[in-house]
């Protein structure tokens, strides 16, 4: 073991870690830039200095209302919802070792969504009660999918197919609820079917932010465990990972994140699905990708909302934009998966 060879090994590690840190920093900067743009742009464009003054507490005619009351809640919601969808999506994909096992494909996001729709549109509820209902509903659906996929021998493919079926059923039921509630006008329907940042309330923010901070931290801390779980159950057991406990914690955290986010904005299409794979590629494989996935989610949501609001003559809700942006990448991923996996 000469020093020369030791250095190669260590250098390899250091190089990868450095790339991780650099890529993640770029993501943080991008997210910050988009957040600022969300505060600057609008019917009236305020310069950055004005924005900062308003945030600092100064009261400026017109600007305070526009920035503080209108744009800030929207921006913060988009940021944290994006973080939530991104981290939760990445977690599920890693747990099930398949990028297609994303909560918005296998019905878990819809499962949370339908509870939120029911509470808000039919029961007329609002606030933390809705979010709790969404969590319970999401967990319930996740459990059902898991139990059903165990019949006749568990396989990831079965779980995904069953998830797609459950998703179709729940989407139908959501359409029915929307119809029933006489909210069949397009903006509301769109919100609940593909997600929107319109009309988000400041009151929903504290709950959202706390949940996102708590459960994201938990998932990030358990990142190392998740990376061992990725290898195989046998390997994880022999390396000392307490599989059942870790899985339970991760699924719970993921569902909490998704449920709270969905209760506020509806299910924003594709964010959960795309964030994980993009993050892995960007930051380097084999390295922790949870936090980067959250950042990518935030970037997707904030960026798409900006595009949806200002790029065209019609205002599009964020879900439609992420849908369009996500589609080609979705197809590309499937093609690539099939080519490699077979």
């Amino acid at each position: 073991m000469s020093d020369l060879r030791t250095t190669t090994l260590l250098m390899g590690f250091r190089r990868r870690r450095f790339r991780w840190a650099f890529s993640t920093s770029l993501l943080i900067i991008t997210a910050l830039v988009l957040s600022c743009m969300a505060l600057i742009l609008g019917n009236t464009i305020y310069p950055l200095s004005t924005v900062l003054s308003v945030l600092g507490g100064e009261s400026i005619q017109g600007a305070t209302f526009a920035i503080y009351t209108l744009r800030l809640p929207r921006m913060l919601t988009g940021l944290f919802v994006g973080l939530a969808f991104g981290i939760a999506g990445s977690t599920f994909q890693n747990l099930l070792r398949n990028p297609l096992a994303s909560p918005d494909i296998i019905g878990i996001t819809s499962g949370s969504s339908i509870a939120a729709v029911f509470c808000i549109l039919i029961l007329g509820l609002s606030g933390p009660l809705v979010s709790i209902a969404a969590v319970i509903s999401g967990l319930f659906v996740a459990l059902i999918i898991y139990l059903l996929s165990r019949s006749g021998g568990f396989s990831g493919g079965k779980l995904i197919l069953i998830g797609i079926g459950i998703q179709a059923m729940i989407q139908s039921a959501i359409s029915y609820l929307i119809l029933r509630s006489n909210q069949n006008d397009i903006p509301s329907a769109l919100r609940w079917l593909s997600g929107s940042l319109n009309g988000v309330r400041l009151s929903a923010l504290p709950g959202l932010v706390s949940v996102v901070l708590i459960f994201s931290s938990l998932i990030i801390l358990l990142g190392r465990h998740l990376r061992i779980l990725e290898l195989s159950e046998q390997t994880a057991t022999s390396l000392g990972v307490r599989i059942d406990l870790i899985r339970l914690l991760l699924v719970l955290s993921g569902v909490f994140l998704i449920a709270y986010a969905t209760a506020v904005t509806g299910p924003i299409a594709f964010v959960s699905f795309l964030s994980g794979p993009i993050a892995k590629k960007w930051v380097g494989r084999g390295l922790p990708s949870e936090f980067p996935a959250g950042l990518i989610g935030a970037i997707l949501v904030l960026g798409s909302d900006l595009i949806g609001q200002y790029a065209f003559s019609t205002r599009f809700p964020v879900g439609v934009i992420t849908g369009i942006l996500g589609s080609p990448y979705l197809l590309y991923l499937i093609i690539r998966m099939n080519r490699q996996g077979g």
Partner: protein, 332 residues
Amino acid sequence: MKKINPLLLIVLSIIGLSISILASLAFGARHIGFLEVIQSLVYNQGETLNQIVVHERIPRTLFGIVAGASLGISGALMQAITRNPIADPSILGVNTGASLFVVAGIAFFNIGRPIEYIGLALLGSSIVALFVFGISSLGRSGSTPIKLALAGAATSAALSSIISAIVLPRTDSMTNFRFWQVGSISGATWEGMLTVLPFLLIGLLIGLFSSSTLDALALGDELAIGLGVRTGIVRLLSTGAGVILCGATTAIAGPIGFVGLMVPHSVRLLLGPSMKRLIPMSAVFGAILLLFADVIGRLIGSPSELESGIVTAFIGAPILILIAMKAKVKSL
């Protein structure tokens, strides 16, 4: 899985079809008794309000039969050709593809006649069918059910977003925003239905014509060729028929899913896998199913109505789940 006496099944289906036709004419925003329905049909009266309502519902009912039959046969054909128990025009994303092309045609090229709708829909469904089947065939294991379903679901979701994006700014000019995302037989006109009818007949004929070959194909390509079957041509014809059937239906009704999945499986359970029986019975069962779905949609959605496509999804998805649950791990 006891096989029913085919004759008995035919009698039962005719009864079932009659009931569903009556129900389709009777129920809705205004409920009319069965007897009155029969009277207004037989005596062709058109004076009382009830009788007028019945007559107004006739095109819709007839279209339900035509569309349901088309979708049923389409599903049977696709499952036979891909040897895939979950092949269905909606799962493969073919419906969404047809829908997208029609929507694009309306938005950008101002088409308006049913024949134009159908032309674009056929184009769209063919392209998407090729695409979905293509990407699911990549890789060592070829086109497995799970890969096909995933490719279809992904493509469907992707195209659906594009449809939303096109329709949203044009909600005043597009008949109904939801229409192109979830299908319904409510918009059927005589003209539309008559335009679809020839396609249905062509599809039905091709299906019947290829049925014995398709039975041989079910044994595997090599065996079929060994038996002297011209697999290439039959595959092409049948796939074409399947795509035409669902494309034409989608052009008029929007994308209605799961009929092509549920119906062939139910028929297979009752009558066995022989295509000679499967094709015509899938037509009948498909008609019954779609009419019933439509009636349910009207009943539970009243005073408005829930699109048939939503009802079929709700009934059909459990079938998908059951199939997935029962499947042996290897075959997925």
